[in-house]
């Protein structure tokens, strides 16, 4: 197990190097002079030169990369062109917002997905099962931003139904933008968590169905175990093993996938920071944020792998 962890950690190194090269190249892949782009089309020559100087754009590329990486490792991601503040400071204000959004959305996905998946599996091929799976398919195929806009329309702005319609005449229950209060959190979390819930539901269902057909489930029944206990104690514990992986990977994806949701709901997280900085041509921030998100993604995947391995070691002897 320890050897596995060490090996797995070492494996992330090439990934991290690759990511850093990619992030670094971003600035240079944009056609034209990056300094000019950052300063703006009509900026005076001195200002462009000033930026070139500050970012070391006149050094050879390998030197630039080395400088960037060695600074990054020490926690220095440069400073914002626009505000002049440290990139790390800019990010740290946004970091937890995005993490919170991803965590809540994952919790929602797991909660909804597990319930739906278990119900579906225990009622395989019934009407309930079919309905749940159709809903899951919708959840999976609905574009994020569209779902977000619809939710805002219905549950933040409110429907235009006449006032005699009970309950639904005024549905502006939540806030359409910002982050912090309960009214602000609900809609973005639903927006971001729906696809995950659908994935978890489908995964749980198929995993449950596979496990329920196993010999040890029959053993449990032959022991006189109640059907409910058979499902929740004997089957679920085994069925959850692959689900854990999906949830973990889903969490990683959500971290990087908050861009659209944060934009739609005007949430000041890392995703929106990336978008805003791209629009403002603030390259150091774009680079830094993407690097942090990528790092987080790699880290989460690492944890998922180790957890899976730990849960699964009882099954495959290998």
């Amino acid at each position: 197990m320890f050897k596995f962890i060490v090996r797995r950690v070492l494996q992330t190194i090439p990934v991290l190097i690759g990511v850093s090269i990619l992030v670094f190249s971003l600035m240079h892949l944009v056609p034209g002079n990056p300094a000019q782009i950052m300063a703006g089309e009509s900026a005076p020559k001195e200002q462009v030169e000033n930026i070139e100087e500050r970012l070391g754009l006149n050094d050879p590329l390998p030197v630039q990369y080395w400088n960037y990486i060695s600074n990054a490792v020490q926690g220095d991601l440069g400073s914002s062109i626009r505000s002049g503040r440290d990139v790390t400071t800019e990010i740290s204000g946004r970091f937890w917002v995005t993490v919170e959004l991803a965590v809540y959305s994952t919790i929602l996905s797991v909660f909804m997905g597990l319930i739906a998946g278990i119900v579906s599996a225990t009622k395989q091929y019934t009407f309930t099962d079919v309905i749940i799976m159709i809903i899951a398919l919708f959840g999976l195929s609905m574009p994020n931003f569209w779902l977000g806009l619809m939710l805002i329309q219905w549950f933040a702005i409110g429907t235009d139904l006449p006032s005699w319609v009970p309950f639904f005449d005024d549905t502006a229950w939540f806030k359409p933008s910002g982050w912090g209060s309960f009214e602000q959190i609900v809609l973005p979390v639903i927006t971001l968590g729906t696809a995950g819930a659908a994935i978890v539901a489908r995964m749980t269902r198929s995993s449950m169905l596979e496990v329920v057909g196993q010999d040890y489930i029959r053993t449990a029944r032959a022991k006189g175990v109640k059907e409910r206990v058979v499902i929740y104690r004997h089957a679920l514990k085994n069925a959850l093993i692959p689900v854990v992986t999906v949830v973990g990977l889903q969490f990683g994806t959500l971290l990087g996938g908050t861009v659209l949701t944060e934009t739609v709901f005007a949430i000041n997280g890392m995703g929106k920071l990336i978008i805003d900085s791209i629009q403002a041509r603030d390259f150091p921030i774009v680079q830094g944020t993407i690097l942090v998100v990528a790092l987080l993604f790699v880290l989460v995947n690492l944890l998922v792998d180790i957890t899976y391995r730990f849960l699964n070691k009882r099954i495959d002897l290998d």
């Binding site: 010999d215 040890y216 006189g224 175990v225 085994n238 009882r314 002897l317």
Partner: protein
């Protein structure tokens, strides 16, 4: 020898049991009118080729058949009461408590995510309302009983830490935890290697005598039957074709299928590499199941009358046979002699 006609002495009586699987195209009659009885404290062997319905018969007994399978008829009398009329809750009180089961596959029959102790003690928690600590203590005793070395250590291990033979011992410990009156062992040794097989069978036999259990031992190994069983039920295509005490089966088998099975056994003194006689043909698929005697297409004695289904007849000794040869209606060679070539096993 007439125990089986006296219902007071039978712990289990299965009458005309029918279990079918309903696929899209057809009804597969896996168990098609099975009748047999298990006398108290005795071991009955259920033998037959693969696919003859042995496992489905035993699973039906505990009502553990799952979709698309369904018990469609007959009765299963356990201690005089028909299990098919019991509620699910009543069945749960019987499963693992009065009737226990051991399965064919020790490698996959234990839950990989729970320890041996957790799995055995579950039976005590359900049926004897024991607390966690007591249940584990009893589990350790059980592990000791089935001959597992250092049970205090094993009780905390997961199934993957045990060998196949050890796992089957754990299965037996679990099955016997609540002192069942009837143990159904479905090919308990098929998946194990030969030396372990003998140990496990010896263990079952030993425990049966000590605990005075009745046993239904499912196997397709007649050698195992000769060594462990008091009675034998021979099954073919979902039906019992012969039921007799073990001596009769080996010394005077009546059904041509039983004879075929015996002849395909390697005798002790012959090298296994020699050609053994085999029953010609193969088991008919459910779609082409003959109307009459199921065995007729493969039977060397088959005659005109075999195109109708023979009934299961009981003789004065309580032995049963489903074959036209032994009836007045027999229209084949009146001199026909059905006997096995190598009957030295009985000695």
């Amino acid at each position: 020898m007439s125990t089986k006609t006296n219902s007071n002495e039978n712990i289990l009586e299965v009458n005309e049991l029918k279990t079918s699987f309903f696929t899209d195209e057809m009804e597969v009659k896996a168990v098609d009118g099975v009748t047999f009885a298990i006398p108290k404290g005795k071991t009955v062997g259920l033998v037959g080729e693969s696919g003859s319905g042995k496992s489905i018969s035993s699973l039906s007994t505990l009502r553990l058949i799952e979709r698309p399978g369904k018990i469609v008829g007959g009765e299963i009398k356990f201690k005089g009461e028909n299990l098919l009329e019991k509620s699910e809750a009543q069945m749960r009180k019987i499963r693992g408590n009065e009737i226990s089961m051991i399965f064919q596959e020790p490698m996959t029959s234990l839950n990989p995510t729970y320890t041996v102790g957790q799995q055995i003690s579950e039976a005590y928690k359900i049926h004897e309302n024991l607390g966690k600590k007591q249940a584990i203590e009893r589990s350790i005793e059980m592990l000791k009983l089935v001959g597992i070395p250092s049970p205090e250590k094993r009780v905390n291990q997961y199934p993957h830490e045990l060998s196949g033979g050890m796992r089957q011992r754990v299965m037996i410990a679990m099955a016997l935890a609540c002192n069942p009156e009837l143990l159904i062992a479905d090919e308990p040794t098929t998946a194990l290697d030969v030396t372990i097989q003998a140990q496990i069978l010896e263990l079952i036999k030993d425990l049966q005598e000590r605990l005075n259990m009745s046993v239904l031992l499912i196997t397709h190994d007649l050698g195992v039957v000769a060594e462990t069983c008091d009675y034998v039920a021979v099954m073919y295509c979902g039906k019992i074709v012969e039921f007799a005490d073990v001596n009769t089966i080996f010394s005077n088998p009546k059904h041509p299928y039983t004879v075929g099975l015996l002849d395909s056994l390697p005798p002790h003194d012959r090298d296994i590499k020699d050609d053994l006689p085999v029953i010609r043909g193969s088991v008919p698929s459910p779609a082409e199941m003959p109307e009459g005697c199921r065995f007729a297409p493969r039977c060397p004695f088959a005659s005109e009358v075999c195109k109708t289904l023979p009934t299961l007849e009981t003789d004065e000794n309580g032995n049963q046979i489903r074959c036209w040869i032994y009836s007045d209606k027999w229209d084949g060679d009146p001199e026909v002699k059905v006997h096995a070539k190598n009957t030295e096993r009985t000695s």
